[in-house]
C-alpha cells in the first residue's frame, strides 16, 4: 500500500499496554508507557498509531487489544508466558504529530539532529507509525538523559487517557486501566466535526476494501 507522510496536525496515539502486575499506584510513573529504544544506528525509536487508519476510538482500542494479544501469543509461542506478566491493554493517549517534529530545535535538546514520524505498517497493522529521533554524530550527551527529555515533552503534549477493557480481559480483577493517570494536556476529546469523522471513516473503509482487493 501507499506509504503516506503524516501531516503535523494529524492525531497519533500511544497505546498503554502493561503487564498485569503494573497497576500504577504511587510508585510507577505513567511515563512508563513511552518506551524509547535504540536502533542499531544509534537513533532513538518508538511506535505510535495513526488516526487516519484508526478513524474512530473503537478502532483505536481494537488496535491496542490486538497489540496486547499479539504480545501474549508471542510469549506463549516462545514458552515464556506467565500469567502474572500477561500483557493488558489499558487505554490510549493522543497527541499531534507536530509534537514529535518539534523536538528538533527544542531548547536544551541540541543533540537532536532530526525528529520525524513516518508511516510504516508493521505486523499487519496499517496504522503503525515509527518515530525516529536521530542524534548528532559525536554528541557526548548521555542518550538515556535525552530519552528522558523526549518522554517529558511527549507526555506534556498528550491528552487522555481513553480507557478500555478488551473482551479477553473481562476476567481480570483490578484491571490496570483503572489506574491510568490523566495526561497534562487534558481529557481525550475527539475534536473533529461529525462530518470530518464520517469522511475519515468512509476513506478508511474504501482504502481497506482496496487493500483487500489487491491481495
Amino acid at each position: 500500500m501507499k506509504v503516506r507522510s503524516v501531516p503535523d496536525h494529524d492525531s497519533v496515539f500511544r497505546h498503554s499496554v502493561h503487564p498485569v502486575s503494573f497497576r500504577g499506584g504511587k510508585v510507577f510513573d505513567p511515563r512508563n508507557l513511552f518506551h524509547l529504544s535504540h536502533r542499531l544506528d544509534g537513533s532513538i525509536q518508538t511506535s505510535l498509531a495513526w488516526q487516519r487508519y484508526l478513524p474512530t476510538i473503537d478502532h483505536v482500542h481494537d488496535y491496542g487489544c490486538r497489540m496486547a494479544h499479539r504480545r501474549n501469543e508471542n510469549n506463549i509461542a516462545a514458552g515464556t508466558y506467565k500469567e502474572k506478566n500477561r500483557q493488558i491493554y489499558c487505554g490510549a493517549y493522543e497527541m499531534r504529530a507536530r509534537s514529535i517534529r518539534q523536538l528538533f530545535g527544542s531548547e536544551l535538546l541540541d543533540e537532536i539532529a532530526k525528529a520525524d514520524i513516518t508511516h510504516e505498517p508493521e505486523e499487519g497493522e496499517i496504522a503503525h507509525l515509527n518515530v525516529i529521533i536521530t542524534l548528532r554524530a559525536g554528541t557526548s550527551v548521555d542518550p538515556e538523559n535525552t530519552k528522558t527529555a523526549i518522554v517529558d515533552r511527549m507526555w506534556r503534549a498528550s491528552q487522555g487517557p481513553a480507557t478500555h477493557i478488551c473482551g479477553r480481559d473481562q476476567d481480570v480483577s483490578n484491571h490496570p486501566g483503572s489506574t491510568l493517570v490523566a495526561a497534562p494536556g487534558g481529557a481525550y476529546v475527539d475534536s473533529r466535526s461529525w462530518l470530518s469523522r464520517l469522511l475519515c471513516l468512509v476513506r478508511f473503509r474504501c482504502e481497506a476494501w482496496i487493500q483487500r482487493g489487491l491481495r
Binding site: 503487564p19 502486575s21 504511587k26 510508585v27 510507577f28 510513573d29 505513567p30 511515563r31 512508563n32 518506551h35 524509547l36 529504544s37 508471542n74 510469549n75 516462545a78 515464556t80 506467565k82 506478566n85 527544542s106 531548547e107 536544551l108 535538546l109 550527551v141 548521555d142 538515556e144 538523559n145 530519552k147 528522558t148 527529555a149 518522554v151 517529558d152 515533552r153 506534556r156 497534562p184
Partner: protein, 211 residues
C-alpha cells in the same frame, strides 16, 4: 548549554521527625515590613527508654522559610522507600522478553541512588524506565518536574516546565564522592526554578526563597 557543575547552592528546610518525636506544633508569623515569614516549631522529644526525667521541649526557629515546609515522619519515609525498593526489584525480575526489565548493574545503581535519596530525605519519587539500561526517578512540584536518570555508570538531572526544558545536569558517575552535596544542589536548583515561576506568574501567597 548543559550545566556540568552547580553554580549556586540553596537550602530547603525539610523536617524529618524520628520515631522518638512525640509532638510537634507549628506557628507561623509574618513580618509584613520585610515581606518574609518565619515559623516557630516546638518539638517535644520522647524516648522509648525507661527514664524518670521528663523530656524538655525544644524550639527551633527558621527565620525565612517557604510558606509551607514539608514535614514527614521518618518511619513513613522508610515505608515509602520500601515500596520503591519493591518496584525496582519487580522491574529487575521481569522476563527477559519484557522491554521494561532492568539490567543487574542498572538495578544496583538505582538502588544505591534510592538509598542516598532517602538518607537525604527526598520525598518518594515515582519511577519509570527506558528499558534495561536506565531508571528514571521523577518528582513534581506544581507543574514542574525533576527527573534523575540513572544508568549503570552515570547519572543526569533534568528540570522541566510545561513550556520548556529548564535545565540539564550530567554527572560522570552514578553518584559523585559527595552525594549529599550533589543531591541537595539538584533539589535546590529544582525548587529555585519552581519558586521563580511562582513569583513571576502571580503574586498569590507569601512564597519566599530561603537564604
Amino acid at each position: 548549554m548543559i550545566d556540568l557543575y552547580p553554580i549556586a547552592v540553596y537550602h530547603q528546610a525539610l523536617i524529618v521527625l524520628n520515631q522518638g518525636t512525640t509532638q510537634a506544633t507549628f506557628s507561623t508569623n509574618d513580618d509584613a515590613d520585610r515581606g518574609t515569614s518565619y515559623s516557630e516549631i516546638h518539638i517535644q522529644s520522647g524516648s522509648t527508654a525507661l527514664s524518670e526525667s521528663q523530656p524538655s521541649p525544644q524550639s527551633m526557629v527558621f527565620k525565612e522559610t517557604f510558606s509551607s515546609v514539608p514535614v514527614i515522619w521518618e518511619s513513613d519515609l522508610h515505608r515509602e522507600y520500601q515500596e520503591l525498593g519493591v518496584a525496582l526489584l519487580e522491574m529487575k525480575s521481569l522476563d527477559g522478553e519484557n522491554e521494561h526489565q532492568l539490567d543487574e548493574q542498572v538495578y544496583l545503581a538505582a538502588s544505591y541512588v534510592a538509598t542516598e535519596l532517602r538518607a537525604n530525605s527526598f520525598p518518594l519519587p515515582s519511577v519509570f524506565s527506558h528499558g534495561p539500561k536506565s531508571v528514571v526517578f521523577n518528582w513534581s512540584n506544581n507543574e514542574d518536574n525533576l527527573y534523575l536518570t540513572v544508568s549503570a555508570d552515570r547519572m543526569s538531572a533534568l528540570i522541566t516546565s510545561p513550556e520548556r526544558i529548564q535545565r540539564r545536569i550530567e554527572y560522570p558517575k552514578s553518584l559523585p564522592a559527595n552525594p549529599e552535596t550533589t543531591l541537595l544542589s539538584i533539589k535546590s536548583a529544582f525548587l529555585k526554578k519552581s519558586v521563580q515561576r511562582c513569583l513571576t506568574a502571580s503574586a498569590s501567597g507569601q512564597t519566599q526563597i530561603v537564604s
